[in-house]
Point group: C2
Chain length 277, copies 2
Amino acid sequence: MSASAITDLSRLCVHTATTKPWSLSIAAREYARAGIKGITVWRDALAALGPKESGNVCRAEGLEIVSLCRGGFFPHVDQAGKTAALDDNRRAIDEAAALGAPLIVLVCGAHPSLSLETSRKQIVEGIAEVLPYAHERGIKLGIEPLHPMYAGDRSAVNTLRQANDMCDALKSPYVGVALDVYHLWWDPELREQTLRCGKSGYLFAFHVCDWRTPTRDLLLDRAIMGDGCINIPEIRGWVEEAGFKGFNEVEIFSTEYWSGDQSPYLQKIVDAYRKHV
Amino acid sequence: MSASAITDLSRLCVHTATTKPWSLSIAAREYARAGIKGITVWRDALAALGPKESGNVCRAEGLEIVSLCRGGFFPHVDQAGKTAALDDNRRAIDEAAALGAPLIVLVCGAHPSLSLETSRKQIVEGIAEVLPYAHERGIKLGIEPLHPMYAGDRSAVNTLRQANDMCDALKSPYVGVALDVYHLWWDPELREQTLRCGKSGYLFAFHVCDWRTPTRDLLLDRAIMGDGCINIPEIRGWVEEAGFKGFNEVEIFSTEYWSGDQSPYLQKIVDAYRKHV
């Protein structure tokens, strides 16, 4: 199944980290002016106004708050590290509740001294630990599989199958998956596991950007959709075949784009969304 | 099964790219002096002496030539590109024969304008095309799965399962796999697919180095064994459980190490080999 063409911006969301030089207030205003309908908020962006007022600013611009990014980083070699991570995740849940975000995206973590299996075990234990707190506040948790190039230190969840398996283990309507094409486009099981994800009710979020060739930096060289090698419409087709009806969320981390004027860059994103998502 | 401890250097091979500033003659002399028994030769290193004399130099130092690196890069959007790649692979086979290397390692290629499936199809077709030429000259071809961070432009073969599947499709004693811990340490099926690889007779080469956290460059920031997060002895255990009896080959690409004195760096590699492989 191929995706139907994008005809309007009603499902376009932008992550504030995409336009990192802008404050949350400016981002909200500029997103709304560009016709964007959803916003995901980086936790750092909450500092200026606090979560509650940040939420009011977004809603005043007519934006739907899609998620708060990010929680996670559960694996640690000692109990103190684990406890600090759980505390930080509870704080993120409080912030999401105050902001009015229904979902926290989890960058689950990995520790170079731990095996990937141990890190994954600690991730499941960590999510299970904070889950009641999230449930009580009505906040969902989205496990985001990260590209294997981050397996050493950012996430031991590197395939969609692994994230789906964790959701199976945790069995809660408050635990699901954030599927990012940047992290998963190479995954040989992507179509099959996307269908499993959606049909199991796990597909909470869909993130888009592009993979530049050659990529010059492991973290901060993501490309605007259409400027890389990812077949985004094909993956969106699978996501929609799996029943997803949420936002198509643009998340671009890019030193190059952050160094320039954010307004034409945002317009490029909107144009690329119509053509290449 | 865990690997038995390394007690001597009889199975230590070093890839000349590891000590890139050295000419082949110097590398061969210094490797031999350090007690290293095997050498893999980067094609660039053949330029000074030509393949035949390069082989003589290595053998005169008592080194076993393990492989020539590299062939591959089969996928292209046009026939001219494909034909040029096939010609280049035939040249590499001639060079391996002249050098006296029994194996060519294949970095199979990927093209950002082609889907990964199409690239993989072209890889299998390309290997099938040059296979008779390799067979006639007694040269084996080793498919090296590359880390998914290279899927856009260097290789569409990113898991060991994919490489094993290609070997199944090509059904030749001259087609197998080069298994590099740097590329595959994150692979969730690594143990199972290593056993399949060895037991099917596909396991032609085993490469080691380490994954630095954080990694600062996508290509040239590999670490010496023990300086990263890969459990190399565990993977070597699987490789040996699968029946592999060949060299443990060190392949480090590192701007940092290349910028310094190569002699103490080579000694560090030898010491790390005893402790961390």
